[in-house]
Symmetry: C2
Subunit: 181 residues, 2 copies
């Protein structure tokens, strides 16, 4: 909306956009403070800033990628991370043909160098390796001090409780469709 | 669990697995019928069959893929779809170098042939094209009679209300991590 040159938005408009009720929008925001003005709505720039703060997306985050196959390459070429302040600053693979190559300005490193992440201020990682390697990679990431993992492997990975893991399984997402069609 | 040779499971065990309470498990299942036996729990094979039936995952589904770049290639090589009865039976791209090539037994077709899907019993599609092409592809899929779309493009696509769209945006998934770390 900001890009479209709009400066304020009503709770009704926001509700429509995310398929809920205006009162739910107002109630949810009210937990975090007083963002809106009655009759005017929400200032868009301020609202975006507040939401980013609440979700802790207001500081840049360095992210590592492990596994530069088809999926990993797609992730490295993806341009949408900047919106949330993410930057992929490290990439690892075990294929000698890939190590040393550069994608989007990032040089692919030997997977054995994951341990160096701890001293490089990287605290999030994306796992895009084959299923059977996922747990081993997760273990190495945890040892390197990574605190959050986005896991694209269909294998359930086991990590200490303080590490947050979000798993993306394409088949499970696809499996949500048949119910509706 | 079935693969591990187990034949029954308690609501407590199921609750632990999905991080909820046993009574929530029992309550949720009770909406759909009487699946469990007091003191014994649920027969795993029967439960899996019932859940697949409820989610309409009990019939094989043919799926088309549009866009065979890095992401599309990763999707075509992905082996997890069979669990839910999905099969990618068609793939489309506009790159002459890709058209005619085969991945996992599926020959990549010219994107102009999307219209043929209607007569090929394909009712779901995956969009993995660049952002600026997503809407045009969605329109063609709708015209071809596709009823459900899994959209990997960060662009919001507009389709008639009767078409179900699930959008996967990697950046949004990654954006869920910082709150926890």
């Amino acid at each position: 909306m900001s890009k479209q040159g709009l400066s304020s938005v009503s709770s009704s408009k926001l509700a429509e956009y995310v398929s809920t009720n205006p009162w739910q929008i107002r109630k949810d925001f009210s937990y975090f403070g007083d963002f809106g003005t009655r009759g005017v709505g929400y200032n868009i720039e301020n609202l975006a800033r507040q939401i980013k703060r609440i979700l802790r997306l207001d500081t840049p985050r360095k992210t590592a990628l492990v596994g530069v196959g088809n999926l990993g390459s797609a992730i490295m070429s993806y341009t949408g991370f900047g919106t949330y302040g993410f930057e992929i600053t490290a990439a690892f693979d075990n294929d000698p043909d890939k190590i040393g190559r550069k994608i989007n300005g990032v040089t692919i490193e030997n997977i054995s160098a994951i341990g160096t992440l701890g001293s490089r201020r990287v605290d999030m990682a994306i796992i895009a390796v084959p299923e059977q390697a996922a747990q081993e990679v997760a273990d190495a990431l945890v040892r390197a001090g990574i605190k959050g993992i986005l896991n694209f492997s269909p294998r359930r990975i086991v990590v200490p409780k303080k590490i947050k893991v979000i798993t993306i399984d394409i088949a499970t997402d696809l499996a949500r469709l048949p119910y509706y069609i």
